[in-house]
Symmetry: C3
């Protein structure tokens, strides 16, 4: 949840999350929430956000149960993004490819607690994307990576791995 409360209060926006996560965070922050579970969808303007399966645990800061981990497919008429969430490689990513045909993947690449970049290349193949924005790497020791090698391994498979610096923005 990291900066969720800070962002939501700055932007006056809703927080979308699993029933259990929303339930927990609503005790710490009096904002607007949209609770869902896997299969649920939120529509906001031209955006449709769909909750899909992720292979990861979900415990809250106090150790209580945080529901099941989720990824999100973010659909806009101009483009479809698949944010896998923290997850290991899964056949459910083939389902995302079949049903949503995403154009870009936002995938963890740091290993240890998620996919590493080798798994992320397979994830891109499973869901049919050729461009991946890397997440969940280099922020602490166990998930430090060799960025040059990761990007090179993607290129060998005719895929692109974009790595964005903190504060940087990209046009999709």
């Amino acid at each position: 949840m990291a900066d969720a409360i800070h962002i939501a209060s700055s932007c006056h926006c809703n927080i979308v999350g699993s029933f259990e996560v929303v339930n927990w965070i609503s005790k710490h922050y009096k904002g607007k929430f949209h609770a869902l579970n896997i299969g649920g969808q939120v529509v906001s303007g031209l955006f449709k956000v769909k909750a899909v399966s992720a292979n990861h645990s979900s415990s809250m800061p106090d150790g209580t149960y945080g529901g099941v981990a989720m990824g999100f497919v973010i659909n806009h008429p101009s483009k479809c993004l698949y944010y896998s969430g923290d997850t290991g490689l899964s056949y459910e990513m083939k389902l995302v490819g079949d049903v949503y045909k995403p154009g870009i993947g936002l995938f963890p690449i740091g290993g240890t607690f998620t996919m590493d970049h080798t798994d992320a290349i397979l994830a891109a193949e499973y869901c049919g994307v050729s461009e991946v924005i890397g997440l969940h790497y280099d922020t602490f020791g166990p998930i430090e990576i060799d960025k040059t090698m990761a990007q090179s391994d993607f290129r060998i498979k005719n895929k692109k791995l974009s790595l964005i610096n903190i504060g940087e923005s990209v046009d999709l």
Copy 2:
């Protein structure tokens, strides 16, 4: 668990559920239980009930961990029912099709916390059923649906969506 205790005490029947759910409910009700986990099977007369995977969270009324969500395949010599449980669409439904070849699906269709009817059509394709009984819709605001459109969308795909009123029964 809703009316589980009421039904079990009225019918003097066993309650079948996951280890964690049975553990919790047995503190509130002194009945007979049959605990299992995914892959487990209960045989009762001509019925075989098999626990299969579902993509959903499972927390108890007090917020504690309720194990993993489950669906159930209910096998009888005359017919095989696949009750998916509350779940999002999943490739595991293809496994149910491969292994059990169910004749009827009992699927959630309300969205937000489960599949909507569009996902349920894909679920029917994944597991190879042409008839679905719709569940988990219209009981509160976030899961209200357009029943006419849902049934029409099923028909377009050469499938049948049956919607049963509370108290109504159907012959399968």
Copy 3:
């Protein structure tokens, strides 16, 4: 976790487990730990151990949430073992076959809380192994099995089911 602390303290070895399990056990034992989540990998000498998905609940002895259940793929230059963990049959086992091409499966075969031997034959087909070492059977009533029938059913499918006695060791 059973004998994990006893084994770790006898062998002075690390305990590898999910973030939530390691967190819990580290309150009861002051040893060395390696926490990971699905997709994570531990390298030790010539061994690479990769955490993969399993379909099972994970609650700690005090009922608290123990993260998601895991299997482990144990890679050594001479052989690749797939220890599925306690699990039901899953399409994720096809992923293990595609990515790791294991030579031997260590699968539960006792039913009720895991796969039974019939599911384990399908698991072997899903991940492409012809030899399985059976686990999680005969230690208490609900998971007692007919060992002769189980081994015969494997043979019919041109697969081998090895059942090892407690204290016995095998060369792989």
